[in-house]
Subunit: 394 residues, 2 copies
């Protein structure tokens, strides 16, 4: 569920239902940023990135003063018409707020391949902007959801030189989740003072150990985006506390990323796949993703079946050089399953089953003795995953 959110001075926002979705859920959100705010962003690496991603990346070269988010229509795969429509929605908000088109960052999520209905924005934008308020971030956390079941929010504070710095973040995402250098949609705000370059460096570091390490189905979205905005309203500069800020930001992004996995489409399990000792971090990641994406491993997790042979088979087909059976150890939580490439003599089906029925499972795979280590977080594969995605457009 949504946690209590600390507001950030200088951020005002609201979300409404503008009938972009086919139901009465909130679907149009605006976040207004006080002048002086700096913003950094990371975006999907999917070649077919959506029109709003292209425009948002471009507009980040200016100093953004507003975020415009719709959660009914992804505006992806919509060609030049989609690009023109995105710019038109930015223009509508810019005119309403008295700022420049280039100061609006647009974001979209929802169905791919349909053109926006601009009349919904013409009607909706004046409505949402009249409701802008400093305490509405929880409403926006609802307004950006699609197939998500719960809002994903977090606030963290730290003290430096007698001052309090706050970081508040919101995110959405449930399916088509394997972010690549970005996330689904996530918006993070802080009252720290920082340059865009400083924010960008912190955000890249934070997303690489959080959003870029989660996967529901291996399908990287066309619309992933994550921004970090710093209003400077706390009076504290990042120069006084860069290490602390990075550490708390890492905590915030990791918490939001894990909330996305826990709300993964049809998910009944929260699974960490931790791979250690590869000849590089890339090798560790390759093995981790191969296990995390295996439909056979994921259905065994759903069934709480300690069918560890499927884990072993997935490790064995990972696309890395020099994988030696005799170096491999596998653990289910703290239960040793495979030791030096052979079934651990102490393993019992009962011990394995006792771990598989748990909601939180850590699969640890040692493939060598180096210090390299990577974790990815994923879910199981259930009837409901098929149901949700077979019926998504009906």
């Amino acid at each position: 569920m949504s946690e209590s959110l600390s507001s950030i001075k200088g951020i005002s926002c609201a979300a409404i239902n503008a009938s972009i979705k086919n139901n009465d859920a909130l679907d149009l959100s605006v976040v207004s940023l006080v002048p002086g705010t700096t913003t950094a962003g990371v975006f999907t690496q999917n070649v077919f990135c959506a029109a709003p991603v292209v425009v948002a990346k471009n507009h980040l070269q200016q100093t953004p003063l507003a975020l415009l988010i719709n959660s009914g229509n992804a505006n992806a795969g919509t060609g030049t018409q989609g690009m023109e429509n995105t710019l038109k929605t930015c223009e509508l908000l810019a005119n309403d707020l008295g700022i420049k088109i280039e100061q609006v960052l647009p974001f979209s999520t929802g169905v791919i391949g349909q053109q926006l209905n601009l009349s919904k924005f013409e009607e909706g934008i004046p409505k949402v902007t009249t409701q802008l308020s400093g305490v509405n971030l929880a409403q926006v956390a609802k307004g950006i959801l699609t197939t998500d079941l719960v809002e994903k929010t977090i606030s963290k504070q730290f003290n430096i030189n007698g001052e309090t710095v706050t970081i508040t973040g919101i995110a959405k995402g449930s399916g088509m989740i394997r972010p690549n250098m970005a996330t689904m949609l996530s918006f993070i705000f802080t009252d720290l003072k920082a340059t865009q370059d400083q924010l960008q460096a912190c955000l890249t570091t934070a997303t690489n150990q959080s959003f870029n390490r989660i996967t529901v189905d291996g399908d990287t979205s066309t619309n992933d985006a994550c921004t970090l905005s710093a209003t400077g309203t706390s009076g504290v500069s990042i120069d006084e506390c860069e290490a602390e800020f990075q550490q708390v930001l890492n905590t915030v992004t990791k918490a939001l990323a894990h909330k996305i996995i826990k709300d993964g489409e049809g998910a009944t399990k929260f699974v960490e796949v931790c791979v250690k000792g590869g000849s590089s971090n890339e090798d560790c990641l390759e093995v981790a993703y191969t296990v995390a994406h295996s439909p056979l491993v994921k259905t065994a997790l759903f069934a709480s079946d300690a069918n560890w042979g499927r884990i072993l088979a997935a490790v064995g087909r990972a696309n890395i050089a020099n994988l030696n059976i005799e170096d491999i150890n596998i653990y289910l939580n703290n239960v040793s399953i495979v030791k030096s490439g052979e079934p651990d003599a102490s393993y019992t089906e009962q011990a394995g089953s006792a771990e598989m029925v748990k909601e939180n499972i850590v699969i640890t795979i040692e493939i060598g003795t180096s210090d390299a280590q990577e974790s990815v977080w994923t879910t199981d594969f259930s009837y409901d995953y098929v149901k949700i995605n077979a019926e998504y457009r009906t």
Copy 2:
């Protein structure tokens, strides 16, 4: 269903229920090869390959005179004990037939990670060998099945210099299907005369365009194996007809591979993903597999939902260099969906839906203008896939 099978002179075989499975299905098969037969084989590239794969590869260095196949227990992930057990089963059959241990090729499929119960083989092998007959290949085609619903068999003949040459093949496989340089289990026989080297070259060529191009779930098995045995009993030498033989063998392996896909776990659709114009065949394959493995594409296929945005998103995340949106065209059967990276103006949802409800679907993706082209064959992702794999060991 099983097609009418031409027997091959010099091949005798049988299958029985030896209670290796928990039911009364056939589970222990023996194929006896007339002295003078040459045999080639290709095997899984999974690092954790099963004990029988290790032994069969080793025994191929001799001249095999018998195949021993159990379909109840994969004998994979079973360490040194599994290796000893495999050799023991070879010994049991060798003693029974009066041949050398090294002349027996062992194969296994079924549950991973459990040791063989040798007493089942001690009892079963004498029973099955008393039933060996030249006309029992259809029985063996049943005897090698696990979660398969139907037998996969084919016979083809061609004439050369007034003589008839026959190729007869059987295969099994339904889940954990993404063969890599091999197949699940497939056994192919011919009465042609050929050396092992000649057979090996033909088999490698044939499997690369058939078994190595199918995928159900991306999970490469630990037990994949395919053999080709040539008895020479037709009196025709491969030197007289290498091109014809290769062509017919390609037809046989492709037909068997497609039968595996059509019987894929929970499959309701037979889907070809054809990618053209990449800067290399490897690039075409990478794009094809990315689409074929996408859970979102596969659930849309199951739902007969023309949600082509998911195809586009999968193409966009494929791990190849220099993918340019403006070069990309996508077709659903003959319906153009995406043209030069944008939605085709002529496309209608109705036209897309009319193709998606079909049982046979070809997704053609042009990513450039080169001659490179690769196809992979796959299935949709249904409730039954989850059900079959969640309940596999219960």
